[in-house]
C-alpha cells in the first residue's frame, strides 16, 4: 500500500490504461472497417451492433442460467483434472519406467482432437452434461500430467540434497521440497488444462446442442443472429476470465514469493 502510494498515478495504472486503450482502438478500427464496407457486415457484424445485442441476449436468452451451466461443467472438469492429473504426474515422476512408457502417449493425448470423438461419448454417457464434463476432463488431463512431471523433474538437485542432509522421509521430501518447487510449473499446467477444458465444454455444448453458452451460440448462429452470436462469445470470454482470475488468486495465495 505504502509502496504503491509513492508511485505516480499514470505509472501505476499505465499497463491497465494501455490495455483498455488498445482494446478500444481495435474495436474502433473494426467498426470503421465494417461501416465503410471494407469488411462484409454479413460475416462480421459491427461492434456497435454486438454491443447493442448484449441487452437482448441477457433478457431473452437466459444468459445467467447458461453462464451458470457452462461454469458448472467447467468447474467439475477443471477440479477433476487437478485432482487426477497431479497425482498421475507425481507417480510418473516417481516411477521412471512408467514415465518412459507413457509420457509420449500422454503427449499424443494432449494433441488429439478429442472433441471429434463426441459420438463415442454420446453413446457412452448419453446427451447429457456428463458427456461434456467427461470429454473436457480427458482433453484437459494431459497438460497437467506433463507439466507436473516437468516441474518435479526440474527441482534443483541441491534442494534435494538439502532434504537428504536433513534425513527427510520420502513423504516430507515430496510435500516440503519437490511439490513447492514444482508448483509454478504445475500452475502453468493448470492454466493449459483449464484452457483445453473450456474449449471442449463450449465446443461440445455447441456440437451436441446442449446446455450453456455453446448451445446458445449454436442457436443464435442457426438463426443467423450474428450480433447475438458474437455477444454470446463475449460471455464465453467472461467465463474464461473469471476462471483465470480465480486461478491467479489461488496461485498468489499458495506462492506469496511469486
Amino acid at each position: 500500500m505504502a509502496k504503491s502510494a509513492g508511485i505516480p498515478f499514470t505509472t501505476r495504472w499505465m499497463p491497465e490504461i494501455f490495455g483498455v486503450g488498445a482494446l478500444i482502438v481495435a474495436v474502433a478500427i473494426f467498426e470503421a472497417l465494417v461501416q465503410s464496407g471494407v469488411v462484409n457486415r454479413f460475416i462480421i457484424p459491427p461492434p456497435s451492433d454486438v454491443f447493442m445485442a448484449f441487452e437482448r441476449v441477457v433478457v431473452e436468452e437466459n444468459i445467467l442460467g447458461r453462464v451458470r451451466e457452462t461454469a458448472f461443467e467447467m468447474t467439475v472438469a477443471g477440479v477433476a483434472v487437478v485432482i487426477v492429473g497431479i497425482p498421475i504426474g507425481a507417480l510418473l515422476y516417481r516411477y521412471a519406467l512408467w514415465r518412459r512408457a507413457l509420457e509420449d502417449w500422454i503427449g499424443a493425448l494432449a494433441a488429439a482432437p478429442i472433441v471429434l470423438a463426441f459420438p463415442l461419448f454420446l453413446v457412452l454417457f448419453g446427451r447429457s452434461p456428463t458427456t461434456i464434463i467427461v470429454m473436457a476432463f480427458f482433453h484437459g488431463l494431459a497438460p497437467i500430467i506433463l507439466k507436473t512431471v516437468e516441474g518435479l523433474t526440474a527441482t534443483r538437485k541441491v534442494l534435494i540434497n538439502v532434504g537428504r542432509s536433513l534425513n527427510m522421509t520420502s513423504s516430507q521430501m515430496f510435500w516440503k521440497i519437490l511439490f513447492p518447487s514444482a508448483l509454478p510449473v504445475i500452475f502453468t499446467g493448470i492454466r493449459l488444462s483449464w484452457t483445453f477444458c473450456l474449449i471442449t465444454v463450449v465446443g461440445v455444448e455447441f456440437l451436441i446442442n446442449l446446455g450453456g453458452l455453446g448451445q446458445l451460440i449454436n442457436d443464435l448462429a442457426e438463426r443467423y443472429d450474428l450480433p447475438g452470436t458474437y455477444a454470446s462469445i463475449c460471455f464465453v470470454i467472461f467465463v474464461s476470465v473469471l476462471f483465470f482470475v480465480i486461478l491467479e488468486r489461488i496461485e498468489s495465495w499458495l506462492q506469496p514469493a511469486r
Binding site: 534443483r156 540434497n161 537428504r164 513447492p180 518447487s181 514469493a257
Partner: protein, 291 residues
C-alpha cells in the same frame, strides 16, 4: 608468532590441541572409486585426517582432486566408499544428525521467507512454532540478517542467501559444520566479509568446522589447519597448521605471515593445479580431434 607453518602428521595429531580429547571426526583411509571395468576413476585415494573439537579445518586442492566427493562422503550423501568416516564410534554411511551441511550452490527455498527457511530443520523435528521462531531469530541475528526475516530469497543478494543457508544449518546446532565452497559464487570483497562473519560465528559457538574450498586466501583466513590435496587421484599432500592469532578478522590478509602461508600453500598447489590444467587441455584437444 611461532614458526610460520608447522606440518602435522597426516592424521592431524597436533600437540597444540588438548591431549586426550577425542577428535570430533576421524577420516581414516577413505577411498572412493567411480566407474567399472577399465573405466575406473579413483576420486579419493587413501585420505586420512582428523578434525578436533572446535577446530576449523579446510581441505584445499585443484578442481578434480575429489574435494566435493569427500564432502559428499562426509555428509553421508555418498554411502558407498572404502575406509571410515567416524563421528564418535559411528561410521558415516548416510546423513548424520550431528553434521550440518552448507552447499556450494544457492540452496535456500524460494517459496519460504528468511525466517521460514531458517526454521525449516526445526519444523521437521517437530519443534513448537514459538520455540522454532525464537531459535531462528537468534541465528538470523547471528548471521547479520536481523531486518530481513520476512524477505524472500528473490529479494536478497547472493551473499545474503548464503548466510540464510548457513543460519538454516546452524539452527539445528550440529556438532560439525561441513561447508562445500559456500562463497564460490561471490565476489572477493563479499567473500572476505562473509569470512569475517564465519570466523566470528565459529569463535562464538566453538563450532567444529570442515570447509572444502579451492580458494587459498579463504582457507588461510579461516582455518586452524589446511589439508592440501593432490590432483587426481585425490590424496593428502600435506597438512599445514595456520598459526595466525585469534580472534581473527579479514585484516589478517594484509599481514606478512598471511602472505607467507598463501605463498607456501600455493607452492604445493601449483604443481597439482598445473597437472589438472594439462589434463583438461589434453581432454579438450582429444575432443577437438574427435569432433
Amino acid at each position: 608468532m611461532t614458526s610460520l607453518s608447522s606440518e602435522t602428521s597426516l592424521t592431524g595429531a597436533d600437540p597444540s590441541k588438548p591431549s586426550g580429547s577425542a577428535p570430533a571426526m576421524v577420516i581414516d583411509d577413505v577411498v572412493k572409486r567411480f566407474g567399472r571395468g577399465n573405466d575406473i576413476v579413483t576420486a579419493v585415494d587413501h585420505v586420512s585426517f582428523n578434525v578436533q573439537q572446535g577446530e576449523f579445518v579446510s581441505v584445499i586442492g585443484p578442481s578434480g582432486c575429489g574435494k566435493s566427493t569427500l564432502f559428499n562422503i562426509i555428509g553421508g550423501l555418498l554411502g558407498d566408499y572404502d575406509g571410515n568416516v567416524l563421528i564418535g564410534d559411528e561410521r558415516i554411511s548416510a546423513p548424520h544428525p550431528e553434521v550440518g551441511m552448507v552447499f556450494q550452490e544457492e540452496s535456500t527455498f524460494p517459496w519460504r521467507n528468511v525466517i521460514d527457511n531458517v526454521a525449516f530443520p526445526l519444523e521437521l523435528q517437530g519443534v513448537a512454532k514459538s520455540e522454532r521462531m525464537d531459535r531462528a531469530h537468534h541465528f538470523i541475528d547471528m548471521v547479520g540478517l536481523a531486518n530481513f526475516e520476512k524477505n524472500y530469497p528473490s529479494q536478497l543478494s547472493g551473499g545474503m542467501k548464503q548466510r540464510v543457508s548457513i543460519a538454516r544449518t546452524l539452527v539445528s546446532q550440529p556438532k560439525i559444520l561441513l561447508m562445500d565452497e559456500p562463497f564460490a559464487a561471490l565476489d572477493e570483497q563479499t567473500r572476505l566479509l562473509l569470512g569475517d562473519k564465519i570466523t566470528q560465528i565459529q569463535q562464538q559457538l566453538h563450532q567444529t568446522t570442515l570447509l572444502i574450498t579451492h580458494n587459498l586466501t579463504e582457507a588461510v583466513q579461516l582455518s586452524d589447519r589446511i589439508v592440501v590435496m593432490t590432483y587426481r587421484p585425490g590424496r593428502v599432500k600435506r597438512i599445514v597448521n595456520i598459526d595466525l592469532p585469534r580472534p581473527r578478522t579479514s585484516d589478517v590478509v594484509g599481514s606478512d605471515a598471511f602472505g607467507h602461508y598463501v605463498a607456501e600453500i600455493w607452492n604445493d598447489l601449483r604443481e597439482e593445479a598445473s597437472r589438472g590444467m594439462a589434463d583438461s587441455e589434453t581432454a579438450a584437444s582429444r575432443r577437438g580431434a574427435h569432433g
